[in-house]
Assembly symmetry: C2
Protein backbone atom coordinates (compact mmCIF):
# COMPACT_ATOMS: atom_id res chain seq x y z
CA UNK A 1 0.00 0.00 0.00
CA UNK A 2 1.29 3.43 -0.84
CA UNK A 3 -0.12 6.68 0.42
CA UNK A 4 -1.74 9.43 -1.60
CA UNK A 5 -0.30 12.67 -0.20
CA UNK A 6 -3.37 14.83 -0.64
CA UNK A 7 -4.23 15.95 2.82
CA UNK A 8 -1.27 17.84 4.20
CA UNK A 9 -3.32 20.25 6.23
CA UNK A 10 -5.14 17.53 8.13
CA UNK A 11 -3.98 14.75 10.37
CA UNK A 12 -2.98 11.75 8.27
CA UNK A 13 -4.28 8.37 9.33
CA UNK A 14 -1.94 5.40 9.51
CA UNK A 15 -2.54 2.40 7.26
CA UNK A 16 -3.71 0.53 10.33
CA UNK A 17 -6.24 3.24 11.22
CA UNK A 18 -7.50 3.22 7.62
CA UNK A 19 -7.96 -0.55 7.71
CA UNK A 20 -9.75 -0.35 11.06
CA UNK A 21 -12.21 2.21 9.66
CA UNK A 22 -12.69 0.21 6.46
CA UNK A 23 -13.40 -2.89 8.53
CA UNK A 24 -15.77 -1.19 10.96
CA UNK A 25 -17.94 0.41 8.27
CA UNK A 26 -20.14 -1.05 5.53
CA UNK A 27 -21.43 1.94 3.60
CA UNK A 28 -19.31 3.93 1.18
CA UNK A 29 -19.17 5.35 -2.32
CA UNK A 30 -17.53 4.21 -5.53
CA UNK A 31 -16.32 6.69 -8.16
CA UNK A 32 -15.70 5.54 -11.71
CA UNK A 33 -15.63 6.81 -15.25
CA UNK A 34 -19.00 6.75 -17.00
CA UNK A 35 -18.90 7.79 -20.64
CA UNK A 36 -15.66 9.59 -19.87
CA UNK A 37 -16.94 11.61 -16.90
CA UNK A 38 -16.73 10.86 -13.18
CA UNK A 39 -19.74 9.28 -11.48
CA UNK A 40 -20.29 8.50 -7.80
CA UNK A 41 -22.68 5.91 -6.43
CA UNK A 42 -23.22 4.80 -2.83
CA UNK A 43 -22.60 1.13 -2.09
CA UNK A 44 -22.58 -1.29 0.76
CA UNK A 45 -19.34 -3.23 1.11
CA UNK A 46 -17.21 -5.52 3.22
CA UNK A 47 -13.48 -4.93 3.50
CA UNK A 48 -11.46 -8.12 3.02
CA UNK A 49 -7.84 -7.06 3.24
CA UNK A 50 -6.65 -5.87 0.76
CA UNK A 51 -9.92 -5.57 -1.18
CA UNK A 52 -13.25 -3.79 -0.99
CA UNK A 53 -15.97 -6.30 -1.88
CA UNK A 54 -19.35 -5.19 -3.19
CA UNK A 55 -22.34 -6.86 -4.79
CA UNK A 56 -24.27 -5.42 -7.68
CA UNK A 57 -26.96 -6.18 -10.18
CA UNK A 58 -26.86 -5.48 -13.88
CA UNK A 59 -26.36 -1.76 -14.43
CA UNK A 60 -23.92 1.06 -14.45
CA UNK A 61 -21.42 -0.23 -11.91
CA UNK A 62 -21.18 -3.65 -13.53
CA UNK A 63 -20.99 -2.19 -17.03
CA UNK A 64 -18.45 0.52 -16.25
CA UNK A 65 -16.04 -0.56 -13.55
CA UNK A 66 -14.45 -3.98 -14.25
CA UNK A 67 -10.85 -3.74 -15.51
CA UNK A 68 -10.72 -0.03 -14.72
CA UNK A 69 -9.21 1.97 -11.89
CA UNK A 70 -11.87 3.23 -9.50
CA UNK A 71 -11.94 5.13 -6.23
CA UNK A 72 -13.79 4.13 -3.10
CA UNK A 73 -14.45 6.41 -0.14
CA UNK A 74 -15.92 6.26 3.35
CA UNK A 75 -16.31 9.19 5.70
CA UNK A 76 -18.13 10.58 8.67
CA UNK A 77 -18.40 14.10 9.99
CA UNK A 78 -20.00 15.84 12.92
CA UNK A 79 -22.99 17.83 11.67
CA UNK A 80 -21.71 20.79 13.70
CA UNK A 81 -18.27 20.49 12.13
CA UNK A 82 -16.30 19.58 15.26
CA UNK A 83 -14.70 16.48 13.76
CA UNK A 84 -14.49 14.46 10.60
CA UNK A 85 -12.56 11.72 8.87
CA UNK A 86 -12.33 10.05 5.50
CA UNK A 87 -10.57 7.09 3.94
CA UNK A 88 -10.00 6.84 0.19
CA UNK A 89 -8.87 3.85 -1.83
CA UNK A 90 -7.79 3.80 -5.45
CA UNK A 91 -7.32 0.58 -7.34
CA UNK A 92 -8.51 -1.76 -10.04
CA UNK A 93 -12.03 -3.20 -10.04
CA UNK A 94 -12.66 -6.78 -11.08
CA UNK A 95 -15.82 -8.78 -11.65
CA UNK A 96 -15.11 -11.91 -9.61
CA UNK A 97 -18.58 -13.43 -9.98
CA UNK A 98 -17.23 -16.42 -11.90
CA UNK A 99 -13.59 -16.37 -10.78
CA UNK A 100 -12.42 -19.82 -9.75
CA UNK A 101 -9.41 -18.85 -7.63
CA UNK A 102 -9.58 -19.57 -3.90
CA UNK A 103 -9.45 -15.91 -2.80
CA UNK A 104 -12.40 -15.01 -5.01
CA UNK A 105 -14.36 -18.04 -3.86
CA UNK A 106 -13.69 -17.08 -0.24
CA UNK A 107 -14.74 -13.47 -0.55
CA UNK A 108 -17.92 -14.47 -2.36
CA UNK A 109 -18.95 -16.02 0.96
CA UNK A 110 -18.66 -12.71 2.80
CA UNK A 111 -21.88 -11.24 4.21
CA UNK A 112 -22.10 -8.21 1.93
CA UNK A 113 -25.55 -6.94 2.90
CA UNK A 114 -27.06 -4.15 0.84
CA UNK A 115 -29.38 -1.65 2.44
CA UNK A 116 -31.13 -0.88 -0.82
CA UNK A 117 -33.54 -3.29 -2.49
CA UNK A 118 -32.69 -5.16 -5.68
CA UNK A 119 -31.07 -8.42 -6.68
CA UNK A 120 -27.27 -8.41 -6.71
CA UNK A 121 -25.94 -11.50 -8.42
CA UNK A 122 -22.56 -10.03 -9.29
CA UNK A 123 -19.50 -9.61 -7.11
CA UNK A 124 -16.99 -6.84 -7.62
CA UNK A 125 -13.61 -6.57 -5.96
CA UNK A 126 -11.67 -3.31 -5.71
CA UNK A 127 -8.01 -3.80 -4.96
CA UNK A 128 -6.68 -1.28 -2.43
CA UNK A 129 -3.62 -0.35 -4.44
CA UNK A 130 -3.44 3.09 -2.82
CA UNK A 131 -5.02 4.06 0.44
CA UNK A 132 -5.10 7.25 2.41
CA UNK A 133 -7.01 8.68 5.32
CA UNK A 134 -7.31 11.97 7.08
CA UNK A 135 -8.96 13.29 10.20
CA UNK A 136 -9.50 16.48 12.11
CA UNK A 137 -10.96 17.20 15.53
CA UNK A 138 -11.65 14.58 18.16
CA UNK A 139 -13.68 11.74 16.75
CA UNK A 140 -15.89 10.10 19.40
CA UNK A 141 -14.93 6.50 20.18
CA UNK B 1 -31.51 19.71 -15.82
CA UNK B 2 -31.70 16.23 -17.24
CA UNK B 3 -31.88 13.04 -15.26
CA UNK B 4 -29.35 10.24 -15.15
CA UNK B 5 -31.38 7.02 -15.34
CA UNK B 6 -29.16 4.86 -13.16
CA UNK B 7 -31.37 3.83 -10.33
CA UNK B 8 -34.30 1.94 -11.76
CA UNK B 9 -34.69 -0.38 -8.83
CA UNK B 10 -35.04 2.42 -6.28
CA UNK B 11 -37.48 5.26 -5.91
CA UNK B 12 -36.41 8.17 -8.08
CA UNK B 13 -36.40 11.61 -6.49
CA UNK B 14 -37.94 14.53 -8.32
CA UNK B 15 -35.75 17.49 -9.30
CA UNK B 16 -37.43 19.46 -6.54
CA UNK B 17 -36.62 16.81 -3.94
CA UNK B 18 -33.00 16.74 -5.15
CA UNK B 19 -32.74 20.52 -4.83
CA UNK B 20 -34.29 20.43 -1.36
CA UNK B 21 -31.72 17.88 -0.20
CA UNK B 22 -28.87 19.79 -1.84
CA UNK B 23 -30.03 22.96 -0.10
CA UNK B 24 -30.52 21.37 3.32
CA UNK B 25 -27.09 19.72 3.43
CA UNK B 26 -23.55 21.13 3.45
CA UNK B 27 -21.28 18.10 3.38
CA UNK B 28 -20.69 16.00 0.27
CA UNK B 29 -18.03 14.49 -1.93
CA UNK B 30 -16.49 15.50 -5.22
CA UNK B 31 -15.18 12.95 -7.72
CA UNK B 32 -12.75 13.97 -10.42
CA UNK B 33 -10.00 12.59 -12.60
CA UNK B 34 -6.53 12.66 -11.00
CA UNK B 35 -3.74 11.50 -13.27
CA UNK B 36 -6.34 9.68 -15.32
CA UNK B 37 -7.94 7.78 -12.42
CA UNK B 38 -11.03 8.63 -10.37
CA UNK B 39 -10.50 10.30 -6.97
CA UNK B 40 -13.07 11.19 -4.31
CA UNK B 41 -12.66 13.86 -1.66
CA UNK B 42 -15.15 15.07 0.95
CA UNK B 43 -16.07 18.76 0.80
CA UNK B 44 -18.31 21.28 2.46
CA UNK B 45 -20.52 23.15 0.05
CA UNK B 46 -23.45 25.48 -0.41
CA UNK B 47 -25.98 24.86 -3.16
CA UNK B 48 -26.77 28.00 -5.15
CA UNK B 49 -29.18 26.91 -7.86
CA UNK B 50 -27.96 25.61 -10.28
CA UNK B 51 -24.43 25.30 -8.86
CA UNK B 52 -22.57 23.59 -6.07
CA UNK B 53 -20.16 26.09 -4.52
CA UNK B 54 -17.07 24.98 -2.62
CA UNK B 55 -13.96 26.66 -1.29
CA UNK B 56 -10.53 25.15 -1.48
CA UNK B 57 -6.87 25.87 -0.88
CA UNK B 58 -4.02 25.06 -3.22
CA UNK B 59 -3.96 21.32 -3.82
CA UNK B 60 -5.48 18.46 -5.70
CA UNK B 61 -8.99 19.81 -6.16
CA UNK B 62 -7.80 23.16 -7.45
CA UNK B 63 -5.16 21.59 -9.69
CA UNK B 64 -7.38 18.88 -11.16
CA UNK B 65 -10.98 20.01 -11.44
CA UNK B 66 -11.33 23.38 -13.21
CA UNK B 67 -12.56 23.07 -16.82
CA UNK B 68 -13.31 19.37 -16.35
CA UNK B 69 -16.52 17.44 -15.75
CA UNK B 70 -16.80 16.30 -12.15
CA UNK B 71 -19.36 14.49 -10.04
CA UNK B 72 -20.70 15.62 -6.70
CA UNK B 73 -22.66 13.43 -4.31
CA UNK B 74 -24.53 13.70 -1.02
CA UNK B 75 -26.19 10.85 0.81
CA UNK B 76 -27.42 9.57 4.10
CA UNK B 77 -28.36 6.09 5.24
CA UNK B 78 -29.73 4.47 8.34
CA UNK B 79 -26.93 2.47 9.98
CA UNK B 80 -29.36 -0.43 10.31
CA UNK B 81 -30.22 -0.25 6.61
CA UNK B 82 -33.89 0.74 6.96
CA UNK B 83 -33.64 3.77 4.69
CA UNK B 84 -31.24 5.70 2.52
CA UNK B 85 -31.02 8.36 -0.14
CA UNK B 86 -28.47 9.94 -2.43
CA UNK B 87 -28.28 12.83 -4.87
CA UNK B 88 -25.65 12.95 -7.61
CA UNK B 89 -24.71 15.86 -9.83
CA UNK B 90 -22.50 15.79 -12.90
CA UNK B 91 -21.24 18.95 -14.49
CA UNK B 92 -18.35 21.22 -15.28
CA UNK B 93 -16.16 22.70 -12.54
CA UNK B 94 -14.91 26.26 -12.77
CA UNK B 95 -12.49 28.29 -10.68
CA UNK B 96 -14.49 31.45 -10.07
CA UNK B 97 -12.05 33.02 -7.61
CA UNK B 98 -11.31 35.92 -9.92
CA UNK B 99 -14.42 35.86 -12.12
CA UNK B 100 -15.91 39.32 -12.51
CA UNK B 101 -19.44 38.38 -13.59
CA UNK B 102 -22.28 39.21 -11.19
CA UNK B 103 -23.29 35.60 -10.51
CA UNK B 104 -19.74 34.66 -9.51
CA UNK B 105 -19.39 37.76 -7.34
CA UNK B 106 -22.68 36.91 -5.62
CA UNK B 107 -21.86 33.28 -4.89
CA UNK B 108 -18.46 34.28 -3.50
CA UNK B 109 -20.43 35.94 -0.71
CA UNK B 110 -22.12 32.69 0.29
CA UNK B 111 -21.28 31.32 3.75
CA UNK B 112 -19.39 28.21 2.61
CA UNK B 113 -18.08 27.01 5.96
CA UNK B 114 -15.59 24.17 5.97
CA UNK B 115 -15.47 21.75 8.85
CA UNK B 116 -11.82 20.91 8.28
CA UNK B 117 -8.98 23.32 9.10
CA UNK B 118 -6.96 25.07 6.42
CA UNK B 119 -7.10 28.27 4.43
CA UNK B 120 -9.41 28.22 1.42
CA UNK B 121 -8.81 31.22 -0.77
CA UNK B 122 -10.21 29.70 -3.95
CA UNK B 123 -13.82 29.30 -5.02
CA UNK B 124 -14.99 26.48 -7.24
CA UNK B 125 -18.38 26.21 -8.89
CA UNK B 126 -19.82 22.93 -10.18
CA UNK B 127 -22.66 23.41 -12.64
CA UNK B 128 -25.49 20.94 -12.07
CA UNK B 129 -25.79 19.90 -15.69
CA UNK B 130 -27.23 16.51 -14.76
CA UNK B 131 -28.86 15.66 -11.47
CA UNK B 132 -30.42 12.51 -10.12
CA UNK B 133 -31.55 11.22 -6.80
CA UNK B 134 -32.82 7.98 -5.36
CA UNK B 135 -34.30 6.78 -2.12
CA UNK B 136 -35.52 3.65 -0.41
CA UNK B 137 -37.32 3.06 2.85
CA UNK B 138 -38.95 5.76 4.92
CA UNK B 139 -36.55 8.59 5.56
CA UNK B 140 -37.27 10.36 8.88
CA UNK B 141 -38.41 13.96 8.49
Amino acid sequence: MSRVPLFEELETLTDRECVELLTANHFGRIAFALDGAPMILPVNYVYAEPSVVIRTGPGTKLASTPQTIVAFEIDDADAAGAWGWSVVIQGPAFDITDSIDEYSAAIRKLPVVSYAPGERMHWLKIGAREISGRRFGTVPA
